[in-house]
């Protein structure tokens, strides 16, 4: 598939590359392929390569002197056929306790969708979600793949504080709050897993292109895993993805 992509200046130190404005895994994969090629060829010229649903923003260290020249160079990288080893992507299994103790909005969703709470849990934890990118907060994963039956509007009045680890649904998306934060999504559970930890060399274990599966756990298991995490003895279960 040949994707139609466009290049726009984003100030004089960044270039925005855009694909068709749809959310699709094909586009994500094309973005990641391009990102990887740029990372391989232009490492000393940029500070960040920021992925969005249908975009890649290249943040340069210095102002570029000639936008069109830079674009032509990027185009040649895009069509180049170099074989570089892609970064490995993983499927991460994230334990989630969907107990009403944590899932403050489970009952409201259940009442309005006519699904029982166990059906909601089943629908939410049976899907494999794709990490499109990370934004909003450090370690906040934008996940694709929520079952249509679980689409649920954001709260009209956001909560002033949503707990770190809260698993929530906002419109057509689901996600995990990596830090305590104000937030308007509907909370259905909580994970003891850290999605952002500055003490780690790699503060966020996941990256764009990875997959996430939520695994339903009991309250007892939640506290047990939480303890293992504070003792540094917990490892998130992961599987290498082939592509």
């Amino acid at each position: 598939m040949v994707n139609k992509i466009t290049y726009k200046p984003f100030g004089n130190k960044a270039i925005l590359v855009e694909w068709n404005a749809i959310i699709s895994e094909d586009i994500l994969n094309d973005i990641l392929k391009f990102k990887h090629k740029i990372a391989h060829q232009k490492k000393e010229f940029y500070t960040d390569l920021v992925v969005g649903y249908h975009s890649l923003t290249i943040k340069y260290k210095e102002e570029f002197s000639n936008f069109l020249e830079e674009v032509n160079f990027l185009k040649s990288i895009y069509i180049s056929d170099v074989k570089i080893k892609k970064a490995s992507n993983y499927l991460w299994e994230i334990p989630v306790c969907y107990n009403v103790k944590f899932g403050a909005d489970l009952e409201e969703i259940s009442a309005k969708t006519k699904l029982t709470t166990s059906e909601i849990i089943q629908l939410h934890s049976s899907k494999i979600y794709t990490v499109f990118f990370i934004g909003f907060l450090p370690g906040f994963l934008y996940l694709g793949g929520l079952n249509k039956q679980l689409f649920f509007d954001r709260k009209p009045n956001p909560r002033l504080k949503v707990d770190k680890g809260a698993v929530a649904i906002g419109g057509e998306q689901t996600g995990v709050y990596p830090l305590n934060s104000p937030g308007g999504w509907n909370i259905i559970g909580k994970t003891p897993v850290n999605f952002f930890d500055v003490e780690n060399d790699n503060p966020c274990f996941a990256k764009a292109g990875d997959k996430i599966k939520f695994v339903s756990i009991s309250l007892d298991e939640f506290y047990e895993i939480e303890k293992e995490i504070t003792e540094n003895s917990y490892k998130i279960s992961k599987t290498l993805l082939n592509d």
Binding site: K8, N12, H54, K59, F67, I134, G135, F136
Partner: protein, 283 residues
């Protein structure tokens, strides 16, 4: 070492910020007014990468627990050492137990306190810039000890200030490039954006500045995509937000303008009720 006697309104240690962590959602942060922070570091012959203390509106009181040299640039909040006025934009020799305080606000919103060799607080993700959830604190606190190096007084204070352009603090002109979604605006909207004299609302901080005036907006939200410090967003209600150094890495509002780096600094010296005008420049 420096002891914080009074924290003041909002003061934080900042350097050039965190580059290279946007793909895990970490904001850039760093000094809001690079021009002034660079000036303070330059006058002390520091590297421009060294961390400084960004002090908003004064109110802060600091006691030096060691000899060193300092320089204050940016906003003029009538700085004093032991109640005696000192020059801004000048090298000042301070001794152990000296107390730095501030008084009347003459101009500007943020001043930069540079110390010889820079503040030595812990680097996290390659930067000393304070940011909530990344560094331990996001502002300095009363009785906190800020680490700095002891510098033996081989030099005296300078008697003259380095001259700065007053226009930097007075101009209402904010220079911008067209943003990625600028071309989606109709002619009326484009005109309003560059002809209106905007005023700054009381919702202005290191994350962003919200402006009071509205522009009739019919643009839909965009698919979440990168935003940068200096990105001007047009919200569904027609309000304008100018993103600043602590902004998120992604956003979903149309990005209609992008400030030049110098204009981010100019804007950061403005506050509630101040006015500004966007001027387009080309790449």
């Amino acid at each position: 070492m420096i002891k914080v006697l009074k924290a003041g309104f909002y003061a934080s240690i900042q350097d050039k910020g965190r580059q290279g962590f946007a793909s895990i959602g970490v904001p850039v942060s760093g000094v809001m007014d690079e021009y002034s922070a660079n000036l303070a570091n330059s006058i002390l012959n520091n590297s421009l990468e060294f961390a400084v203390l960004e002090i908003t509106f004064g109110g802060t009181q600091l006691q030096f627990l060691t000899d060193t040299f300092i320089c204050i640039s940016g906003g003029d909040f009538s700085p004093k050492i032991n109640q005696k006025s000192i020059l801004i934009n000048a090298r000042i020799s301070v001794s152990k137990n000296d107390v730095l305080s501030f008084g009347k606000i003459n101009f500007g919103v943020r001043c930069y306190l540079a110390v010889k060799e820079g503040f030595q607080s812990k680097k996290i993700l390659q930067s000393r810039s304070f940011y909530q959830n990344i560094t331990d604190d996001f502002i300095i606190k009363k009785n906190e000890i800020l680490p700095v190096k002891k510098i033996k007084a081989q030099l005296k204070s300078t008697n003259t200030s380095v001259g700065i352009l007053k226009s930097y603090f007075k101009t209402e002109e904010i220079k911008c490039f067209k943003g990625p979604e600028y071309d989606l605006l109709n002619d009326d909207q484009k005109k309003q954006l560059t002809n209106l004299l905007f005023t700054i609302s009381n919702d202005n901080n290191r994350m962003g500045y919200r402006l009071n005036e509205t522009i009739k907006n019919n643009l839909p939200s965009i698919l979440t995509s990168a935003v940068l410090p200096g990105t001007v967003q047009l919200t569904p209600s027609g309000k304008i937000i100018v993103l600043m150094k602590d902004c998120q890495v992604t956003g979903g509002y149309p990005r209609v303008l992008q400030l030049t780096e110098n204009s981010i600094g100019i804007l950061s010296q403005k506050t509630t009720h101040n006015s500004l005008k966007f001027t387009l420049i080309s790449i």
